[in-house]
């Protein structure tokens, strides 16, 4: 009988402890949630705010990069800028020259996006001080079938919007 009473007392005590432990955990949710990071790719700012208020820091994930597939073509759109020289005989000439420069810039941007840029950096350090810092970048490409979408000319600056449609077959060799 004594043993039975002792067993009941032990069981009740253990059940009391078991009830108390989750309650303690509930009182300190922030400590655990600090270690959780919610990754939200397509959250609106309001949704992100809601998640932050709940205690979990929200880490915005960049949208998935567009990849060229056999089924889907990629449209690349760029805006090239060019300025007219100071010495032009007429506004029309200024426009024509600025447009030419803007077109070249747009072509360069397309080439950079499609083929990539070669970057070289060089720092000259003397007596623990940077004497000269140089960055060189170069692009070498061939661009075909680019279309001019829109051309604007305002205050000596010409902007050419250019786009190109890239299909998988152009790269399959």
């Amino acid at each position: 009988m004594k043993y039975a009473l002792l067993l009941v007392a032990l069981l009740s005590a253990s059940s009391l402890i078991a009830e108390k432990t989750p309650a303690d955990k509930e009182t300190q949710p922030n400590e655990q949630s600090k270690n959780i990071t919610v990754v939200c790719a397509e959250c609106t700012p309001a949704e992100a705010m809601q998640l932050t208020q709940k205690g979990a820091p929200v880490k915005s994930q960049p949208a998935a990069e567009e990849v060229l597939t056999k089924k889907q073509d990629i449209r690349i759109s760029v805006i090239g800028q060019g300025v007219a020289p100071m010495t032009t005989s007429s506004p029309a000439q200024a426009y024509a020259l600025a447009k030419r420069a803007a077109t070249a810039d747009a072509y360069r941007l397309i080439a950079e996006k499609v083929k990539g840029v070669r970057i070289e950096g060089q720092d000259l350090i003397k007596n623990m001080m940077v004497q000269r810092s140089t960055i060189r970048s170069s692009v070498d490409a061939m661009v075909k079938n680019a279309n001019v979408v829109e051309t604007t000319f305002k205050e000596g600056l010409c902007e050419v919007e250019m786009e190109i449609l890239i299909s998988h077959s152009q790269f399959a060799q």
Binding site: G82, P85, A101, R108, A111, E112, R136, S138, V139
Partner: protein
């Protein structure tokens, strides 16, 4: 007395005209070599060069998409192109440009040079009464 066969000279001339029409009407088109290059320095057009010359040798290649320009009573292709230069350049852009760009940033100052080149391409040129048809051969 007049022959029942009709006028022989007249029928011969008609026959020769028909022969010429069928054999020589699509006169062989001229072939021209065209190259174009322009340099843009620091977002400004620095130098532009356009070269056109008649091909000394027969060009080999398949005709691509053609361009039609009004000739305005001109026979010289260089003048015709210069009169429609923007149209022609836009057409060349479709054919494709080789791009070479170099940029240097030193002490927070940026210097850039972009060179766009249309490599020497052979064009078949058909002159007509009111227009000229320019077709690249590749």
């Amino acid at each position: 007395m007049r022959s029942r066969d009709g006028n022989l000279n007249f029928s011969l001339s008609i026959c020769s005209i028909i022969f010429l029409l069928f054999n020589f009407t699509p006169l062989k088109a001229d072939e021209y070599l065209i190259s174009y290059r322009y340099v843009v320095k620091d977002a400004m057009l620095y130098h532009e060069a356009f070269h056109i010359a008649k091909a000394m040798k027969k060009c080999v290649g398949t005709p691509q998409k053609e361009l039609i320009l009004d000739i305005n009573h001109e026979n010289d292709l260089k003048i015709i192109i210069s009169q429609n230069f923007d149209t022609f350049i836009e057409y060349l852009q479709k054919l494709g440009f080789h791009i070479k760009h170099q940029e240097r940033t030193q002490e927070l100052q940026n210097i850039s040079t972009t060179i766009l080149t249309l490599q020497t391409t052979c064009f078949e040129v058909d002159f007509n009464d009111t227009f000229v048809k320019i077709t690249p051969l590749k």
